[in-house]
Symmetry: C2
């Protein structure tokens, strides 16, 4: 297994150590149990926003901890949910007395572990609410889920919820805004090469030089269809087609368009894909009011991209544009 | 050739089209000749900072156009210098009457073409100055250069020069600050897999599963040594060792440490490398006063990383910290 790592069992912890060293100004990293919080946690009177899940999807979630987005991120081992203990510890560390929102990607382990942590936090008198993101239109159920998987749309939920909490919204309002984003966001991905998962050191699926996999998840799990490799514009058309079939858009709709790299995709290729997706939406009269292009929700070194189309309105745009100061998203001040 | 592209000859232009669509708020893209400028160009009375070179290194250079960094970027075809014409056109588009600085990576074609453009601009009465970046300690000369190659350190030169121009420094001062950065910056890279270069569709060199190439350039050109694959900490030690051998640092020195991905390297792996490099410098008493981790100066889909160590002082830190609003670097406001 030729990867830029040391001990395959230490990938998550060594990543966190490097992240902590590089971003001392933004975050504090607790080693055991492992979690990442804003340096200025807890913020009294502010709703705290917490997310987490298996590692291997960097910069998700640690890269989104900071002012205007997450108060805490709880990373598990590679592709493995964190247990309730670190989730509870992170919750206690960031609770400012105004409630805590868990943003959970819809995987069975994550849902269960965050639910347990929420119950334990409740016993300690912390008002925890949970929203579950299931934006992936590729499959109805999967190896790891009942219902749809949570993928790149999670970033948009985290940004909007974080901005609402930062401006002082109460927990009911932050939950409602998060649910509004979740209701309007759809994603799907395609891979041209699988990830190699440590410590096993094996590729999670095999593609020939002529094949792509549509509807891949972010854990090397199967997609919806193996198909012939085509120029990227054709791949974009099929992915975007599936997204729009699931949630049709009409002329005048405003959306955020996210083109997300899966880990080993050069940014130039993402922009080529963005160009096509934006053109198809423009053709349909759909306004791409906000754009995001980069590798935000990855699957180790998988090669490919996902598209995310999220409904926007005046308030959501305002929250999207609000200042954010994290390692992976930063703007506005 | 399995890449997320369409026509292999249109990679640079389709990238630019996507970049323009995604970043309408930051840049204007001219199609023929191809160049990228700030939306608010020209800025009267401000020194204009211009860079460019072959495509395939994204986000360099277009990703660094915006307030506080570049006024214009001039991309050539993949791995091919832009001719003097687009450089001259970009120069004219951003000239605000206070002089124009060219930041040129040291490759024979770039040096020659920017020199010709500078002469032509001079005839038009524009005061063009040029600085040449040659931060790569890997090789003395190379296939494409007399002298050292310009690689990831270029980003630091562009940021500092851009900040100086933005605060109103005159052309002499912007040149002097750029030269100060150039004098103190050193880089070297290592690859575990080569890039595949369109339109040829061939890997530019071949590595077995047990090999790495130290001192690779950013055009698939040979490095300084083929060696056995090792855990990333050992690779970091060797790369950083070569950098420090070339420009020794002593206890109390302040540096900026950049860990740069070569295009297909997941960000988690870059942070693992950062962790080691920062620890080695700390051990030597060298203060890593500023950090940057990400894929900024790439070589298509090459897998690997480069390290850059740049001397910092109070003024350079202040300029580094100054607000920057570009697609690939953004902070401070």
């Amino acid at each position: 297994m030729k990867k830029l790592i040391n001990d395959p069992r230490a990938v998550a912890s060594e990543y966190l150590a490097g992240f902590a060293a590089a971003h001392r100004d933004l975050v504090r990293v607790n080693v055991d149990p492992a979690y990442v919080v804003r340096t200025d946690s807890p913020r009294r009177g502010k709703v705290a926003v917490v997310s987490g899940g298996g590692s291997g999807h960097e910069p998700l979630h640690a890269g989104f901890v900071g002012a205007g987005m997450l108060d805490a991120a709880v990373p598990g081992p590679v592709f493995t949910s964190p247990t309730p203990d670190p989730v509870l510890a992170a919750t206690t560390a960031v609770d400012g007395g105004a409630g805590v929102l868990y943003i959970v990607k819809n995987y069975t382990g994550d849902v269960l572990n965050f639910e347990t942590a929420a119950e334990l936090a409740g016993i300690d008198g912390i008002d925890v609410r949970t929203v579950v993101v299931g934006d992936d239109v590729a499959v109805r159920d999967s190896l790891f889920t009942a219902g749809r998987r949570g993928v790149a749309g999670t970033v948009i939920v985290e940004k909007i919820a974080g901005a609402a909490a930062q401006r002082g919204d109460d927990i009911d309002r932050v939950v409602a805004l998060s649910e509004r984003v979740i209701a309007g966001v759809r994603s799907m991905g395609v891979a041209i090469a699988p990830p190699t998962v440590p410590p096993a050191g094996e590729q999670s699926f095999v593609l020939t030089d002529d094949e792509v996999e549509f509807g891949i998840g972010i854990h090397g799990e199967p997609g919806r269809e193996r198909a012939a490799f085509e120029p990227v514009d054709r791949l974009v058309d099929r992915v975007l087609g599936a997204i729009l079939e699931d949630a049709p858009r009409v002329a005048g709709d405003r959306v955020l368009l996210l083109v997300n790299g899966m880990g080993a995709t050069p940014s130039a290729e993402l922009y080529i894909a963005f160009r096509r997706a934006a053109a198809v939406l423009a053709e349909a009269g759909v306004e791409v009011t906000r754009s995001l292009v980069g590798s935000f929700v990855t699957s180790l070194d998988m090669q490919g991209f996902s598209l995310t189309v999220a409904s926007m309105d005046d308030e959501l745009i305002q929250l999207w544009d609000a200042p954010v100061v994290t390692a992976a998203l930063r703007w506005g001040r």
